[in-house]
Amino acid sequence: MVGLEIGTSKICVVVGESRPDGTLKILGVGQAPSRGVRKGEIVDFETAMKCLHEAVVDAEQKSDVMIKSVYVAVAGSHLQSFNNRGCVMLPEDRDEIDEQDVEDVKINAREVSIPAQNAFLHSVIQHYQVDGQQGVLNPVGMLGQKLEADFHIIHGVRTRIQNTIRCVKELPLDVEDVVFSGLASAQVVLTQHEKDLGALVIDMGGGTTDYVLYSEGAVRQSGCLAVGGDHITNDISMGLRLPMARAEKLKIEEGSCVLGNCLPGEMILLKDDSGFAGKEIERETLNTIIHLRLREAFELLKRRLEEEPYLGYLGAGIFITGGCSLLSGIDYLAAEIFEIPANLTHAQAAWGVTSAVENPQFSTAIGLVKFAQVMHTDRPPRGLSRFLKLFSGKR
């Protein structure tokens, strides 16, 4: 099983295998710096393909596996989500709910109007209701006349999703499924217990910030904000007048989003380099730029999440992952803004190449493998979201 994430800053391929005991072992991770990708979407097809090829070759070498088909993560600001309820009535002569009814209710739930150019990406089941009985997890075999189901539906612009798929297929690799990257991250970052308690996963990557909110074991809200680490780097580059590569390095090595934590007038010396005369910059200035950007992103996120009441019921708190979670102080900032405890986290439900598993940058890719494992297993663990294969017909 292979997960492939075409990120804004890097392309990453994770090869994993499912163990008989249900655990997930990571065999190898291949990655390549990404070019031609902005805000989670491909803008330069040729360049992106070259990078993708590098990453796949890298993964094949490291894991000693021939990669044929992959699960692909998608992100981008065009992704939207909503909750909807589907309803089917059983025929008069039958009162036992079967799997066909469950399929029907899922289709029924999708009978809502989304923009014409959009396509459904996921319909994640939240809960079933049988004859008004709430909180049914698996209605198959139950007796009833009326089956209702609440779904969390994620959709996006069809052509944009297909662009990603096409890029992978040109390689050529088979695409088994496309998964919203935030949802993939959540699979490995959260345990079932945390999903039940209520948790918010914020995957802050290079180009986008994906978020998924779980409450009572089900996805309630999700989305993608096209602001990420690239924006921080861009801000630093413009604010301190540094080349982009320098700004990126400075952000990684020295950046923090905590204000007032450094000595007044504390300077950072940037050594000179070819094409760059050395420079001294004030630490507080750097941190202020980062702080303002992250604060704004979190506040925006908070306003979005506050449109529905779930934010107040997060028993497990906030989990921050993705490359940006490596910025020091980001958990404190998130906790301050959301007024909910925030943790830094990485892929939990996997073992193998430890350095990869423990790196929050790989959360999404490992999450894809986990997702694949769930799809492959005949008996999905109870409560774990099941997804509908979507693009099989279009490919």
Binding site: R38, K39, V43, S77, L225, A226, V227, D230, H231, N234, D235, S237, M238, G239, L240, M244, E282, T285, T288, I289, L292, R293, R295, E296, L300, R303
Partner: protein, 476 residues
């Protein structure tokens, strides 16, 4: 974006300048005055008053008044305040003549000696009777100058504060703290002069500079209005990268401020921020936020902002406030006012009489008007509203001469010239004028590496533009 042409200028308006006089009394006062003149001061007349002819001749003041030709015969007062007072009495007419036609009088004096301690209160009285706002800047002697001299200084201070609307008091002992221990003694003495000079200049500038947000007499008065008229004062100036912070720190460092601790008890704080055309809103914001930490929530902050091209890259902060009576008492430890009020001086009796009317006492400004000359009573709108008692008595300006040919304390002229209105209008015009300057240039939105990608516009904001640019937060 509409850009204003840099060459475009509004037609010059006649700016009404408030006539200001700076008066020095005694030797120490002369030193301070010389310093003020040397530091450069525009739009104000300077008057030197002393008993000692020698020091008068060496002064740079344009107008000089010799006190007590017969009492001291051109020599000093010999450290005796009584001699100083008598000398002032003798030259009363000359003093009055010198003080006429000004709406604001600053008195600089060194207390403790003869002329400063004896004559300064009298000059303050005369200034007040001339219908001016009187602010006294005085130094108190070093502790090593002896207890007698200190006592004289304290007594003179108490008398002075009866007449002056505000007294800004510099203790020489504390001035010593400002200079390095290795510094020469002349530097330590000069420190007092420099402080006085800075304060006078900043208040003059405060009043005279046309401001974006103007501070007027009324603001100054409400900042200074206390029974005891003891004043907190701070002035700071900086042209560093972090000039807003540095200027404020410097202002709070002033010994009169006690690093801002004393501000916590103040009810009114007047703040003026002045800077060159490069001064930004965020700098002012930073400064005011920092200042906000030093004052309590109930404190009323009177804020003024001024753009003055002459400041160049510098940013100057002036903070003026006054201590409430209780704090004053603890500060001075000895309650001076009551103990001195018993002394038998015709002037003081008059004041005690006035003290029986609380409203009049609190609105001291409107109390005193000299009807002998055609002085415009500068009743500011705020003052007039605060004391509606002043409205009635629609009679002619009553002149009831007392022993010194001065009017009775409680009498005022009902004659209200439309000065306040005019001034208000002028203020509005002034605030409109600099607003058209290109002070805060609108920065064109830049998106850096996202220039060619699809914009991320959420809630009306282009998120690709750095946050600090959109929120106008200065980071460098």
């Amino acid at each position: 974006m509409i850009q204003l042409n840099k060459n475009y200028s509004l037609p010059e308006r006649l700016v009404e300048f408030i006539p200001i006089k700076i008066v020095s009394v005694g030797g120490a006062g002369l030193n301070a005055l010389d310093r003020i003149v040397l530091d450069g001061l525009e739009r104000a007349d300077v008057v030197a008053i002393n008993t000692d002819v020698q020091s008068l001749t060496s002064s740079v003041a344009t107008r000089k008044v010799q006190l007590g030709r017969s009492v001291s015969r051109g020599l000093g007062a010999g450290g005796d305040p009584e001699v100083g007072y008598q000398a002032a009495l003798e030259s009363a007419d000359e003093i009055r003549e010198a003080l006429a036609d000004s709406r604001m009088i600053f008195i600089c004096a060194g207390l403790g000696g003869g002329t400063g301690s004896g004559a300064a209160p009298y000059v303050a009285q005369a200034a007040r009777e001339a219908g001016a706002l009187v602010i006294a800047f005085v130094t108190l002697p070093f502790a090593f100058e002896g207890k007698r001299r200190n006592a004289q200084a304290r007594e003179a201070l108490a008398r002075l504060s009866e007449f002056a609307h505000a007294v800004v008091c510099f203790e020489n002992d504390r001035m010593g703290d400002l200079t390095a221990p290795q510094a020469g003694i002349h530097q330590a003495f000069a420190m007092g002069d420099i402080s006085i000079s800075q304060s006078v200049r900043s208040i003059v500038n405060l009043i005279q500079r046309p401001g974006l947000i103007r501070i007027g007499f009324d603001d100054l008065l409400s900042a200074l209005r206390t029974r005891n008229s003891r004043c907190l004062f701070g002035y700071g100036e900086s042209d560093s990268d972090n000039r807003a912070h540095d200027a404020l720190t410097q202002a709070l460092k002033n010994p009169l401020m006690d690093r801002g601790r004393m501000l916590a008890d103040a009810t009114h704080v007047l703040v003026q921020v002045a800077g060159g055309p490069g001064m930004t809103l965020s700098e002012v914001e930073i400064l005011m936020q920092e200042l906000g930490r030093h004052v309590s929530d109930q404190t009323q902050i009177l804020f003024g902002a001024v753009v003055d091209g002459r400041l160049g890259d510098r940013l100057a902060v002036t903070i003026i406030s006054s201590l409430s009576a209780e704090d004053e008492a603890t500060l001075l430890q000895t309650p001076l006012m009551p103990s001195i009020a018993s002394a038998a001086s015709p002037v003081r009796e008059r004041y005690q009489a006035a003290a029986h009317e609380p409203e009049v006492q609190s609105e001291e400004l409107t109390v005193q008007v000299q009807p002998l000359e055609e002085t415009i009573p500068f009743e500011e709108p705020v003052a007039a509203e605060a004391a509606p008692v002043t409205a009635p008595i629609p009679t002619e300006p009553p002149v009831i001469p007392t022993r010194n040919g001065e009017p009775e304390a409680a009498i005022r002229t009902p004659k209200e010239k439309p000065v306040p209105w005019k001034e208000e209008k002028a203020a509005a015009e002034k605030s409109a004028t600099p607003a058209k300057q290109e002070v805060l240039q609108f920065e064109p939105a830049t998106r850096g590496r996202f220039e060619k990608s699809e914009p991320t516009i959420i809630e009306g904001e282009d998120l690709d533009v750095p946050t600090y640019l959109r929120k106008h937060i200065k980071v460098k």
